[in-house]
Symmetry: C2
Subunit: 358 residues, 2 copies
Amino acid sequence: RKSYKVTVLPGDGIGPEIIGVAVDVLRLVGSQEGINFEFTEKLVGGAAIDELGTPLPEDTLTTCQQSDAVLLAAIGGYKWDKNPRDMKPETGLLGLRAGLGVFANLRPAVVLPQLVDSSTLKREVAEGVDIMVVRELTGGLYFGQPRGFRQESNGERTGYNTMVYSTSEIDRIARVGFETARKRRGKLCSVDKANVLEVSQLWRERVTAMSSEYPDVELSHMYVDNAAMQLIRNPKQFDTIVTGNIFGDIISDEASMLTGSIGMLPSASIGESGPGLYEPIHGSAPDIAGQDKANPLAQILSAAMLLRYALGEENAAQRIEAAVMGALDKGFRTGDIMSPGMEYVGCKKMGDIVLETL
Amino acid sequence: RKSYKVTVLPGDGIGPEIIGVAVDVLRLVGSQEGINFEFTEKLVGGAAIDELGTPLPEDTLTTCQQSDAVLLAAIGGYKWDKNPRDMKPETGLLGLRAGLGVFANLRPAVVLPQLVDSSTLKREVAEGVDIMVVRELTGGLYFGQPRGFRQESNGERTGYNTMVYSTSEIDRIARVGFETARKRRGKLCSVDKANVLEVSQLWRERVTAMSSEYPDVELSHMYVDNAAMQLIRNPKQFDTIVTGNIFGDIISDEASMLTGSIGMLPSASIGESGPGLYEPIHGSAPDIAGQDKANPLAQILSAAMLLRYALGEENAAQRIEAAVMGALDKGFRTGDIMSPGMEYVGCKKMGDIVLETL
Ligand SMILES: CC(C)[C@H](C(=O)O)[C@@H](O)C(=O)O
Ligand SMILES: CC(C)[C@H](C(=O)O)[C@@H](O)C(=O)O
């Protein structure tokens, strides 16, 4: 009987509710597939600030590093928004990404046939959208040095950050982009701002150079402003997108909202080796926390991604995905994806239905 | 009889076609309103590179600086995409913005009742959208120092840019944001990434501080990734948005594409004093250049903005806007906004119809 160590990070807001459901789902599918999970729960984000005075306790990072995979819910909330940077929940998440070396963030934006009407896009535009955004996650503007505040001689203050990429950082994320595109529909669009930024010029140069190794992948380049438009004009033109950290933050969130059901979208963050980080793309939704209203499906699908990418347990992953589709096919909907004629359920109930369907 | 000096910059691609139409419109409305225009045409962008070996000839900048307003069409094209930075059309545009000190870029995104079906959004989501994006235009990541390429000791190369704002840069654009919101529906949303970036923390701090001077304006803050989502989920929640240069580039293009008719959208770039820059938000569309297919209406509406903001000629501005609406009401459409039952016209013909309607 295989056994895996999974660190569980409930985080903030709706985190504890949805991750509880996902852990139950993992347990059940484990018993069906002969997999044993050793779950260790740790604090991160606002919860860790409140209990331990830091958004990323050392013990949390060490435990994550020593596990086979990390399942995270979501962090953040209004409560900590005014904290200084080292006491923000977000800083804990960024430290976790850096500490695990998970430089590649895979964010699918898929319009499910059952939920096509959740999209604010016209049906004919939304139907069939299936995009994978590969976002660089441990470099660029988020981590670039120098950064900070400065007092100018004229009495003014300035705030500054640095957008920087090295050739090796670009190469390793570009490779994930090409490999991902190759396993999908063979189209890779690299998004940058090379008409203005030097960092983007280097990005474009390296991505272009690598394309000779992938003759089966059709590479295109798009400026980030144009990409933001094209995603709305005709999202079906995209297969795989590869881009830097801040552009990926914006573009992947835009792409996910095209589906109209971000409560359904999981993500995977992976490195060269070591445990990956699996989390829903949605936030911690503090306004509905503790009310049993959250949609747990993105968290459950994140557990499926964990099984597939971190543990190579493809069968178990597919079982979970089928159970989620089954729950939708039976007509059950949480509030965020509710539509006329469907049956409204809360977080806990949706979890039970997925468990039953499993 | 009043007389104004207007510098006309046709630029590249469809630029010459559409700006010719807009100049005719200005001439006619001038004769109706007793305004004399002294037009001086100059080269900028790719056209200037080809003829004079630089994207922003000194003579062009000086002429612009000495005029009352500048009407620009669009610059750029595949042809110059591989040029080094100082020989890119975009560098000419950035130099023009900096040289004119036009730090505030006003970009309306309005869904016209006649064109609501052009949007890829569902009718009930698109109908009534009326957003003004106030984008900082002469600072931030576009102009921040240091920038460039570096050879690291380990043999790697890096490319880097700096996102930097000073308090005075933030204050002056925030003020434009508040003033703009005050003249509209009184809601200002400031977009940043203050949960990660120091430059955004300073931004948020200064914008918040200024809000006490504008008790009649309701200020909110939104992270840029969330803004990219909310624009798609429910664009009607926005009135005025104020943001930095690169976020504004992305967010304003996204907002404009929500309308489905970017061929209709003008923009104004203004400074503390001196001539402003008026241009359509769409690009130079090299693929349809010279084919009489371009939509000249955004350029014509840019001329109306020029009359309003640069010259204070409100009557003339309204005449032009009414004529454009009139042309649409009569059912005439260029290819980009064509829909069943409407009459297809080219660029020249659309111009003639606006002139007649005037
Ligand atoms: C919470 C925040 C720091 C984070 C980011 O910007 O990366 C989030 O928006 C995300 O995309 O995972
Ligand atoms: C052409 C380019 C340099 C420019 C920009 O990024 O500012 C354009 O996209 C715009 O928004 O006016």
